[in-house]
């Protein structure tokens, strides 16, 4: 699910109603770009969240193979859960904002 958010992020940045500047709209936002607009901020957040999830998976597997302690497994899975919850909450907000705009009376 998170993987689907990342490619959609440039679109999110473009549909932002506060960006009246046409140059920002036409430019795709790369996650690595160190710009400060909303889209790239979201992209960075999502990349972090994905990293946390991947780390949790790796540590869980290491835990099953007796290579990581219970504390490490629980801690990383909890961190992953937290970032997933945050990502879901932010996504819901973004979608809600998008729908709000699409319902705008013209």
């Amino acid at each position: 699910m998170l993987d689907q958010i990342v490619p959609a992020l440039p679109g999110v940045g473009q549909s932002s109603p506060v960006q009246a500047d046409a140059t920002i709209r036409s430019r795709p936002v790369a996650p690595s770009e160190a710009s400060n607009d909303f889209g790239s901020m979201l992209a960075r957040m999502t990349t972090d969240a994905i990293d946390t999830l991947k780390n949790a998976e790796a540590v869980s597997i290491a835990g099953i193979r007796d290579k990581a302690s219970v504390q490490q497994v629980v801690e990383s899975v909890m961190a992953a859960e937290q970032s997933l919850q945050t990502a879901v909450a932010v996504r819901d907000k973004v979608v809600a904002a998008y729908l709000e705009i699409s319902r705008m009376a013209i």
Binding site: S69, Q71, Q72, E75, M78, A79, Q82, Q85, T86, A89, V90, D92, K93
Partner: protein
């Protein structure tokens, strides 16, 4: 990483790790409470001690607790007379480990309580993060 709540969770996780190491040492001490030497007059198992220290973690940019060193208790060994024992010296005395069950039990309880405290700390900071994220959701 700069979120203080997440850092506090990591610090608590380090505390859990330290306390579990302490538990391991206590288990070793208890398990070896009767471990004598195999040679006549040799030294038996010496009680292990664990030292914690506050170390700087580069990734977190803060201090976390960790096991600094595992030392040996210099207390004198318990001596019992048992001439038939393989570890008995010329006088028939055997050195037994300087492990005191009562001290180990008290230590174990303390490790247990510290573990609990760290868990509670983790729970609370997690609850605070979740409360804040819920702010996004329920409006």
């Amino acid at each position: 990483m700069s979120d203080p709540l997440q850092i506090s969770q990591k610090i608590s996780a380090a505390g859990l790790d330290a306390q579990s190491h302490r538990m391991r040492i206590i288990a070793e001490n208890l398990a070896n409470a009767q471990s004598t030497a195999t040679t006549p007059g040799g030294d038996p198992y010496a009680r292990k001690t664990v030292v914690f220290s506050n170390k700087f973690d580069d990734v977190l940019g803060t201090n976390i607790v960790g096991v600094d060193q595992i030392g040996k208790d210099p207390a004198p060994f318990r001596i019992e007379r048992n001439p038939n024992h393989p570890a008995a010296d010329a006088n028939g005395n055997v050195k037994y480990p300087n492990v005191n069950m009562l001290i180990e039990m008290a230590d174990m309880r303390e490790a247990n309580r510290s573990y609990e405290a760290n868990l509670q700390m983790m729970k609370q900071s997690r609850a605070m993060v979740m409360m804040t994220v819920d702010l996004l959701r329920s409006s």
